[in-house]
Every structure is written in C-alpha cells, then in structure tokens.
C-alpha cells in the first residue's frame, strides 16, 4: 500500500487501491499507520479526493460527516437535532483488516485470517533486505508515482516485469540503441544479450522461485546500472557502501545481489526492481484494464546527486513517458484482446523456456540459470491458479518446501 517514508508525520496520508477498492493509508495522531476504505459510513461517498497530503480529519463532501485521522467518526452535522440515538463509535471508517509493516513497506489485507505478512513473505525477505535493509536507515520512495492506465489484463505487466528477460533486447530494441551501455557505446551487449539481439551469455545469471514470490538477477553486482547513460556516480556510491552491506547482509547478497539488475516479484502485484531503482504496483481495473503506479526508490543515505540521477533515469526509462515503458503497453493490450475472437481463444500460450534447468545457488529458493528464462512467469501463474482454487486463505501459500541450509549467505 505504501512506505513509511511517504507518510512520516502524524496526519500524513496517501490514497491507493487494493484491487478496485479505494483505500486511504494514514498515520494517525497517535503515530500508528492504519488503512481504511475510502467510503463514508453514511451513504458511501468518498471521504477523500486528494491523492496525498496531511490532515486532521477527512470530511465527507456530501453531508459533512467528519472522521479523524484514526478513522473515528468525530462529528456529524446537526447530530443532536436530527438523530435520536446515533452511535458514532460504530460508524467509523471501515478498516482494512490487517495492516502490517516489513522494514518500512506497508502491506494490507482484507483477510481477517491467514498468514501474517512475515510468514507470507517467507524467504523473500532474504532478497527484499538487499533493498530494504542495506543500511540502518533503509529505503525510501521518492516523489509521487507515475500513473498510467492501460487496457490490458493486470497479470501481463506483472509477469513481464518480474520474469521476461527474453523481450528486453527485441521489444525495446529502439530504446536499447540509444540509452545506456549500447547507446553510449560502453559495450556491444547488455544484460548478456548482443546488440542485434544475437549472441547470448547467461553465465552467472538466474531466475529463482521462492514460492509464491520470484527473483530474477544478473548476480554480477553492478549491471543494475546498465541502462544508465551516466552510471559513474551511482557505481561509485555502490562500491563505497558495498563493504558495509557485505558486513550487514553477508557475502552473497553484498557482492552478488547488491547492484545487480534484480527484479523482485512479490505476489501478486508488487515489483521491486533494483538497479533501475523503481518500485511498481499494478492495480487491476476489472479484467481488461489496469493501472501501473511507478515510484523511484533509493537507500535513504544515497547522496542527493545520485538520487537525482536515479529519479531522472526512472522518468526517462519507465515513467509515463519512459522510452522503454511505452513499448510494453502495446503487446499487453494485444495479448489481452486477441482472445476476444472465439478461435483465437482456443489457443494456448507457451511458457516452457528453461523448464527443468537448474543451478546451484547459495540463497533460498530454486534457481534456474539465465535471466532469459520463463521460470518466474511460470511461478507467477502457478501461484495465481493456486490462489484462485484455494478453498480458504490458509490454502494460498504453497506447501513449505524444505529450507535450504545455506540460506543465510
């Protein structure tokens, strides 16, 4: 739903979506973060139309019921005169059942029961910590998100971002020719793929399934900045902090994951992409439409000069006018609408790449070599199916696979 850095002070709030439910996330007067449906208890009008801000009260624009920033119904116009027995204590905003925080990231669920956040994240925390816990101060989101609505199914942009290393060199060929490693003439290949979408080197790369989540990473410790025109200051800062990250998180994460192009998919709709340094949430808008919200992110300690490079880079590549972002919406839309035709609908897509290929990996999860691989995408759809077929919330997580012993890298 958000991040602590967006609402640091009492009264700070932001609005987001959980599915198609409009939700307010607010830090109350008491400092606690809560989330509520953005719907008035009287007749259901929205109580907040601002995207973010700071407030002591959410006052409904219809009849003026006012809720404090802890969700209580604080005032009702003409209350004494028109109501005989209004119990305001029962008419607060409807809370999101559980709001939990992992190292600054705020998650919510409407489920009263089922796994807690930490259990749900499971071994994914090992990977998330590379972004969320690389320093004692942790990560922050910078700025308001880019928001774009596209007429496609929400699952497509998710699995594209978490796992489709195959499309990068071809779908984005025009952009690849002008930005970063190839565009600036620093090299003839990027992320293991040659300039003309030929030649391929997947050594030292992986996709890994940590069901229900996934990670893709180049494991080389710096190709996260491969698409930057001017990665110098970013890499300099990276190498400057690396020793302390190695000390904090160990060798595997400090040398192989930190700085690599790493796409973390937290099921269902959160993607945290290190290197490009963006965080995206895909909000479904019915089966045929979705909204992408894209944020820049950086460790809080990052010098301003480096943060500025990151923020500009995110805008340039994956913002609303990003030169890569714009390519993806096209096939997302086409794939969604191709099956409108009866005969086309009988087709099956194919996601068989690298099935059965495995590799040794010192972190948690089952790894498969190469970022050009369809493991993450298969895992995503497997989990989606598992979720849709689950009879209760306790069935949505896969059977716990035996913990790998060296999972503390």
């Amino acid at each position: 739903m958000g991040h602590d850095s967006q609402i640091p002070e009492a009264g700070d709030f932001l609005r987001t979506y959980m599915g198609e439910d409009d939700v307010i996330v607010v830090r109350g007067e008491d400092g606690e973060v809560r989330a509520f449906l953005n719907a008035c208890s009287h007749r259901g009008n929205k109580v907040c139309h601002a995207e973010w801000g700071k407030t002591k009260a959410f006052t409904c624009s219809y009849h003026g019921w006012a809720y404090d920033n802890m969700g209580e119904l604080a005032a009702v116009p003409l209350e004494e005169a028109i109501y005989d027995n209004l119990d305001r204590s029962k008419l607060g905003l409807v809370p999101v059942a559980r709001v939990q925080n992992y190292k600054g990231m705020i998650f919510g669920t409407f489920a009263e029961e089922g796994p807690d956040l930490e259990e749900y994240l499971g071994d994914m925390k090992y990977y998330l910590d590379v972004v969320l816990d690389a320093s004692p101060e942790g990560m922050e989101l910078i700025g308001t998100p880019f928001r774009v609505e596209i007429r496609g199914n929400w699952k497509l942009p998710v699995e594209n971002a978490i796992g489709d290393g195959y499309h990068v060199a071809w779908a984005h060929a025009g952009a690849m020719r002008v930005v970063g490693t190839i565009g600036q003439g620093r090299g003839e290949s990027v992320l293991g793929i040659g300039k003309d979408n030929t030649g391929f080197d997947d050594s030292g790369q992986m996709q890994v399934a940590i069901p229900p989540h996934t990670v893709l990473s180049t494991l080389d410790g710096q190709s996260g900045y491969a698409l930057y025109d001017n990665p110098g200051p970013c890499i300099e800062y990276l190498e400057q902090v690396r020793p302390s990250v190695v000390e904090r998180l160990g060798d595997v994460r400090g040398t192989q994951l930190l700085g690599s192009e790493t796409h973390m998919g937290v099921f269902p709709n959160l993607q945290i992409i290190q290197g490009l340094n963006l965080l995206r949430v895909i909000h479904p808008k019915g089966p045929g439409s979705f909204e992408v919200a894209t944020y820049s992110m950086a460790d809080k300690n990052t010098p301003d000069e480096v943060k500025d490079i990151i923020v500009k880079h995110v805008g340039q590549t994956f913002g609303s006018a990003g030169i890569l972002e714009g390519d993806d919406g096209d096939f997302t839309e086409a794939i969604t609408h191709s099956p409108n035709g009866y005969a086309t609908r009988q087709m099956k897509g194919w996601l068989g790449m690298a099935q059965g290929r495995t590799m040794d990996w010192d972190g948690p999860g089952d790894a498969s070599p190469g970022i050009v691989n369809e493991l993450c995408q298969r895992e995503f759809y497997t989990q989606w199916q598992r979720t849709m077929l689950a009879e209760s919330v306790s069935d949505i997580l896969p059977e716990q696979s035996a913990q790998k012993e060296s999972a503390n890298g």
């Binding site: 801000g53 774009v148 609505e149 002008v178 340039q316």
Partner: protein, 180 residues
Amino acid sequence: MAKKQKIAAVGKDTNMETAYRIERFLAAEARTLDEERYDDWLAMLDESIVYKMPIPMNTYRRNRPGKSSIRETMIYDESFEKLKQRAAREDTGMVWLNDPATHHIRTITNIESFCTDDASVYDVRSKFTLLRSRRDKDHVSHTGLRKDLIQDTNDGLKIVARTVFLPERVIVDKNLNMFF
C-alpha cells in the same frame, strides 16, 4: 466595483510583428514534429533547453508542494541531449509501435507573446491538442498548455525553455513518447 484589473499578469505584449513571427514559429514547429522531421525540430531548440512536464498535483489546496514530505515528480525533465536521444530512438526504425507509422496532429492555439526583462527573450503561452492515432482505431487526444521562453537569435527563434502542463493525473494512453 473592484479596482481595474490588469488583464495579462505575465508581462507587456510583444509588438505585433514579433507576435506574428512567434505564431508562425510555433505552427512550423508543430508541423515539423507531425512530419517526424526530428533533426529539423532539434534545430529549433536552444542547446541549453530545459524541457519539463510535471505531474499534476491532486492534493488539497492547503497541501501545496513544499508543505508536505512528498515531492513533485516530472514526466519529462530533459536536457537537449536527452531530447536528442528520444528523437534518435524514433529514427532507429526499431520502435515497433510506430511501424506502421503513428500519426500525430498538433493543434497550437491561444498563443500569447509577452516581453521579459531580457529584450531578446519572450515569454510565450499556448494551448495544444495533440491527437495521436495509429492502426485501426487506436486514437488518443491530449490537451494541455505550454509555457515557453523563446529567444530571438541570429539564427532565428529558438526555444530555451518549455514547461508542458498536461492535466491528466492518470495517463490513459500506452505511452507519452511524443514531443509536446
């Protein structure tokens, strides 16, 4: 009645001839872009250009930027080099979305030209509608306004700054990869 209001809060009008030249310049710029002549377009820009498009702020009036911890984000925040790069991408022949070609039609209107403290620089306000159309019926129309600084040089008029305001908080389009 309240005291007489100054109509244009921006500055003194330029003379008619300058205003006319600026109008012609902006129309020619729009046509150059519609015709995908990016090198010609780049020649209409000063190399120190600052080209921006901020995200519209849907916040309460009392929560203006600076009064809260969330800072403004830019959809475009480009230097001349970055604009050149975007233009070069269009010319790679590898932007699959634009082949068959995407058609753009830019309508520039409400052009107002004002003097600034620098006699060679004009503060020019305009409104635009940019229709983008591709394939069977993938049409989107974007309407907004622009605030330009345009300089008179020996080499003709050049845009030294452009801020585009597109009043769409959620962009309902696959991309905004086009010049405004």
